[in-house]
């Protein structure tokens, strides 16, 4: 049904022979999308009033797309040693810990002094130009200039690491490490063949990445050449063409991998800052099926029509 509606919209737009259909379709088609979170969320967490999870306990195991049971990661399973120079596998941040709706997890935009970033004057000026729908500077969806939602631009890097970081499959070849991200079905290649990041490269949404093993279990990746149109995270942190990002993948043991992300952009920040601090991933079975998580415009449109604007339009805040 969704597919049929999308096709109808496209055909009508092309020909301009059925303006009534176009108008009706446009009314149900989102132009910009956003995700907001309650501004009081971090305060509740910080106030020492942490509530226990209230989600009811599942009564049955989940099934993947192939109909196979999804077995939860057993906390008490015997953990073997980490293999050297190997971070391949299917890795999952438990409990949606990679979901960073207020901005980079180690420095969310929640108003806390310890999370204030070391902006340069230019960085602060650029920050004021971004209008995110999350965090303490959140604006109403109609007022956002988040390029992902205003234009449908790619999130780019490092935002791919700093927003919906979900299950990630890592493949290794003799020349590279390949990351397959669940969110948006995005892939990145981290070259490990000894090359250096290019000087003055053509900008890319996801930049140019090279990795080096600094010990048996730690791969350090440098990325540069990111497109300036992207935001660093969901909170609208800015960057320049000089942005360099370090990812440190450290395999703790066979079943656990840590990721730390550090941002370095002297034009925007007076010093490097940690955006993701040792986020832990758990190794999933080799046959684990990573579901698609794609925010397709047609599905967004349906969500928007049914529920996306309805509650907020009548809310007083």
């Amino acid at each position: 049904m969704l597919k049929h509606r999308a096709c109808a919209v496209l055909a009508a737009r092309r020909n301009f022979v059925a303006p009534g259909i176009v108008l009706a379709a446009l009314l149900f088609t989102p132009l910009i999308c956003s995700q907001t979170r309650p501004p009081d969320l971090p305060d509740r967490q910080a106030g020492g009033q942490a509530s226990p999870p209230k989600s009811p306990t599942p009564t049955s195991l989940g099934l993947d797309g192939w109909g196979h049971p999804i077995t939860p990661f057993a906390k008490d399973r015997k953990v073997g040693p980490a293999p050297p120079h190997d971070i391949s596998g299917i890795w999952d941040p438990p409990g949606m810990s990679g979901n960073q709706v207020l901005g980079a997890a180690a420095a969310p935009e929640d108003g806390k002094p310890e999370h204030q970033l070391p902006y340069t004057p230019l960085g602060l000026e650029q920050l004021k130009r971004t209008k995110p729908t999350n965090g303490t500077r959140m604006v109403q969806p109609a007022d956002t200039n988040d390029p992902v939602f205003e234009y449908g631009d790619p999130q780019g890097f490092p935002r791919e690491d700093l927003y919906e970081l979900r299950t990630t499959q890592i493949l290794q070849t003799p020349q590279s490490v390949v990351l397959l991200y669940q969110f948006g079905k995005i892939w990145r290649v981290l070259w490990t063949d000894g090359r250096e990041v290019p000087k003055d490269p053509e900008p890319r949404w996801f930049g140019y990445s090279v990795g080096k093993w600094v010990d048996d279990h730690t791969l350090v990746v440098q990325t540069s050449g990111m497109d300036e149109r992207t935001w660093i995270d969901r909170a609208g942190r800015p960057h320049s063409a000089d942005l360099r990002v370090e990812e440190r993948f450290h395999r703790l043991d066979r079943d656990h991998l840590e990721l730390t992300v550090t941002i370095d952009d002297p034009k925007m920040y007076t010093r490097p800052w940690v955006a993701l601090d040792r986020l832990v991933f758990e190794l999933q079975p080799p046959g684990f099926d990573i579901r698609e998580t794609i925010w397709a415009p047609s599905e967004f449109g349906e969500y928007n029509k049914l529920i996306g604007n309805t509650p907020s339009d009548k809310d007083s805040h």
Partner: protein, 140 residues
């Protein structure tokens, strides 16, 4: 004449396009996390999609009129891990649903739990930071 009509249509489309309400994919800001409602109803549609799955169902009010409710939960990837599938619900299913209601009083909620007519329970995923404090009467 045909060109003029096309031009007017194009201009109208443009004006409407830039004035359409923008997408609002919220977290919990619109929900009253201090309350929950329990409703008995009949499923009219189960939408297994991103960014969040949506359940449409009808609840009969005291006057015998059907009130059309919509309840959202997480995305398929998250829900599939706690027992949900695309076939978990279908039109005509009788359900008892517990949800966080929206503050506006509209028939919209966030799924806490769905109980099927055979007693099977499908848990929603409620953010741990949002404790559900009390139960109130249904507000169809």
């Amino acid at each position: 004449m045909r060109n003029k009509l096309a031009a007017i249509s194009l201009a109208t489309v443009f004006v409407l396009a830039v004035s359409v309400p923008l997408f609002a994919h919220h977290g919990y800001v619109q929900y009253d996390t201090d309350k929950k409602v329990t409703l008995k109803g009949t499923v009219t549609r189960w939408l297994w999609s991103n960014p969040h799955c949506l359940l449409q169902f009808d609840v009969t009010d005291d006057g015998g009129h059907a009130v059309h409710w919509i309840a959202e939960s997480e995305n398929p990837s998250t829900l599939s891990r706690i027992g949900w599938t695309e076939k978990s619900l279908k039109p005509g299913d009788q359900i008892t649903l517990t949800a966080l209601p929206v503050k506006s009083g509209n028939p919209v909620g966030r799924i806490v739990e769905v109980v099927l007519s055979n007693g099977e329970k499908l848990p929603g995923r409620v953010d741990p930071a949002h404790e559900v404090k009390s139960e109130v009467s249904p507000k169809p």
